[in-house]
Symmetry: C2
Subunit: 212 residues, 2 copies
DNA sequence: TGATTTACATACAGACATGTATGTTTAGTT
DNA sequence: AACTAAACATACATGTCTGTATGTAAATCA
């Protein structure tokens, strides 16, 4: 077929990735054939194999096109707990608003059996998780330094709890299409973070004992 | 082939289910062929098709053979928060001990794209989740009645949080083979439940104000 | 004690999916 | 302007999986 301009070829590649995401989300990564992806993109398998080495390569491209969901503000935040809350809620809002992100996470959390070539992808996912974990822990430690974390909370354990909560939350949010849970999850996040915050009275008491 | 006795046939069926679980867990539900399952069970596909209608039917059997992970003690528990903690920790301990249960949940949480015939299975899973949610909420409400829940906690939201936490916890526990997180998750559960419990001093203060 | 199922094994046909090889224009390059 | 290689489409060979049809020997039954 006629050779396309570089820019057009790049657009073709992008289109394939976008369509692959939709196809993967609706039919499952393994069930989806590259022919389906190609048809959805308005090309043939030839184009797909030209741009990608195979299904797993295409899958990586899908992941790469959608950046990470959460992004916490710089660690030197004045109110790290609010930063945490904003990060988590931001992720949820993005899921609700951005269909592409929704499809990507649908694929990763519900439509992929991490097997064979995809086994490493799971390890990648867990690495991303560890990164989330480190950032969260940093936020909690920051909160400790500022005397904002409630008494008796170990930041390391708290971070792990937030991590698990986040992971489960995403899965449930995605699966609960029309089940009435989605609307409650944002409230849940606020409650979660609030429970970690040292209460006003406790703060006042602590200040009082620090500067008598 | 020679006809088997009824008891033997039942054992064959059981063996197929058990082997299917292992094969599904290692190769993924979609990637695994019924021939692999049959070979692993020491039979041919004929036997598999005799006992089951197909892969999805077999998958249901796998789920059914492994009962639910958590089982909370009767709702009239003296200390409902401890019941919650014991239930959650019990689930984790079972995962660690019982390889079959581990494989089953590995399959359901990581090795299955809930698509086509399996789309209903996801709905089933979410139904089971709602049941978990109801039970947890009942426990928290019980705790409220007994004055054991910390102040300012909404039992409904708290239950949803525990549910999400549990869901994420299982996924992460399973994926973190050798990553060092598993050993910390039990502590996490204790911290989670403890943070919901009204502190001793608060309890004493509340008692004091109740019976002056 | 036949007759009838049962509990499988074997055989077969059809449907796809994958990977690669090859063809065909045209955008870049020199 | 000629040449090269990009950006695909088309064609093909191969393997694998599924579902079903058929065979068969023993367990169960009347």
């Amino acid at each position: 077929m006629a050779r396309k301009t570089k820019a057009e070829a790049a657009r073709t590649r992008d289109r394939i990735v976008s369509c692959a995401r939709r196809v993967f989300a609706r039919r499952g990564v393994n069930m989806a054939s590259l022919d389906e992806v190609a048809r959805a993109s308005g090309v043939t398998r030839g184009a797909v194999y030209w741009h990608f080495n195979g299904k797993s390569d295409l899958f990586m491209a899908v992941r790469a096109q959608t950046g990470p969901l959460v992004s916490f503000e710089p660690p030197r935040e004045k109110d790290p707990l609010e930063a945490l809350e904003r990060g988590l809620i931001g992720a949820l809002r993005r899921l609700a608003r951005d269909e592409a992100a929704r499809d990507t996470y649908e694929v990763m959390l519900w439509r992929c059996e991490y097997v064979g070539e995809f086994a490493d992808v799971r390890r990648d996912l867990m690495e991303a998780g560890k990164s989330f974990l480190r950032q969260t822990e940093a936020l909690y430690r920051n909160a400790v330094r500022r005397g904002m974390l409630a008494a008796g909370i170990d930041p390391r354990t708290a971070a792990l709890e937030t991590f698990c909560l986040y992971a489960g939350m995403l899965k449930i949010w995605l699966a609960d299409e029309g089940g009435g849970l989605r609307s409650r999850i944002e409230k849940l996040i606020r409650a979660h973070v609030a429970s970690r915050r040292r209460s006003r009275v406790a703060t006042r008491r602590a200040r009082g004992s620090m500067k008598p």
